[in-house]
């Protein structure tokens, strides 16, 4: 599992990737690994009433990365013990299973369940 953003020939960057670039409709041809980058917290929340199979409470953040002059955002859980504010710097940290794939409504096989949380940098 990676934390990859995708770029089209016109320099638009998205995370996650799409069939075609949402900005210009061209194919996204380049992958950019964000997992070693430092990002900045755009906003965060702590959800005390999460759905089945999700840790409780579940803290989440939207994080902005700078990729060669273009910004791209990602959403993810905050690592345990990471208290953040808007503007703080965070780094991605790998987690094998972000929620129990068998507890919720979505089919286990339909998607990935590992990924990156964010911790204070």
């Amino acid at each position: 599992m990676t934390l990859n953003a995708y770029r089209c020939p016109n320099g638009h960057v998205t995370y996650p990737g799409h069939e075609l670039c949402p900005e210009c409709g061209e194919e996204q041809t380049e992958e950019i690994d964000l997992s070693d980058e430092i990002g900045e917290v755009v906003t965060w929340t702590t959800n005390t009433a999460p759905p089945p199979g999700v840790r409780q409470p579940n803290s989440l953040a939207i994080v902005e990365f700078e990729v060669e002059g273009t910004s791209v955002r990602a959403i993810g859980q905050l690592a345990e013990d990471s208290e953040v504010e808007i503007g703080d710097e965070v780094r991605p940290v790998y987690a094998e299973e972000l929620r129990n794939p068998d507890a919720g409504i979505r089919e286990r096989e339909s998607q990935e369940w590992d990924g990156y949380r964010f911790e204070s940098a």
């Binding site: 906003t43 005390t48 759905p51 339909s110 590992d114």
Partner: protein
Amino acid sequence: MDRVAIIGASMTKFGEREEWLRGLLAQAGRECLDDAGVAPDEVDHLYVSNMASGEFEGQTGVCNALAHDLGAMPAYTQRVDQTSASGGAGIYAAWQSVASGASEMTLLVGGEKMTHRTTAEATDVIASLTHPVEYKHGVTLPSFAGLTARRYLHEYDAPRESLAKVAVKNHENGLDNPHAQFRKEVDLETVMESPIVADPLRLYDFCPITDGSAGLLFCSESVAQELVPEDEYTVISGIGGATDTHVVHERDDPTVMGAAVESSDTAYEMADREPDDVDVAELHDMFTILEFLQSEAVGFFEQGEGWKAVEEGVTERDGELPINTSGGLKSKGHPLGASGVAQAYEIHQQLLGEAGDRQVEAEVGLACNVGGFGNCVTTTIMEEP
């Protein structure tokens, strides 16, 4: 041009109901036809707005079930799903069917049955609309609300209390709505001290989980003039629908609801109206923050200033622009597929002068129905003929 008219409207009691979806739809459908004095076999098209009857209760094919239960065969029938905006999308479909000439008489019934599930389960059914990179992190609609509310308060220096005042206002309006789930006044302190759900939002910033149904009957204005007196129907003068990104964090500005901007632009242009012309509005306050975002997106207030309107009482029932006179989703409840239809029901009642204790002076009304976290939006402008 022959405009599309609404000649009948109904809504069931919202709340915890014993009936399952078929029963709720049948009740609203029957009452809607009765309201207009139109027989079931006169219905050419029948639309059912519903997000998740299969997921909630294992009943699919609800549009055909309703046609049979009402005796509306052989009407063309279709289920309309646009998640929480299914009701607004149903209005769009019904409007299209009449405006195109494909149907002379169209019945729209929206409904959802949810309260037999736990809050966690219902939240998960709704969260299933998210992208896999969101869903795997346990992202829910309430968590989008928390993330966006924090950003909004930060960017526009709005006090946390301003959000609470939306809840207080809408609960006060709901007191006078016999169909509302909660007819209970709440004060600022109660909202501000209620348990955190998605920081900085608290329990009273969120709408409840609800069962219920609502209906609308559509025909062309020329047909309406033959069937009912002029003071008993309203017209759809403008309607627009639009989408925003599926992945919520990919929006340029998290505090702007792009699909509400686009859909309202389309609706204003069709109606040849401006935001200033609107006398009363129903906005999709699934979360208090959404009332601010939509009141700005549909052009009532400048970006970042929706909170001031609430602080100044502008959006109260006796204010310059009453918003959510029905009590909104906040106190009326939010049976997903029914909500957009029930918004138009409220505007219809207001325009006809039949809103009882909730009555305001209004000739032009607007309803904004939101799916996902602004992922799909329909805006409808309704007027006296």
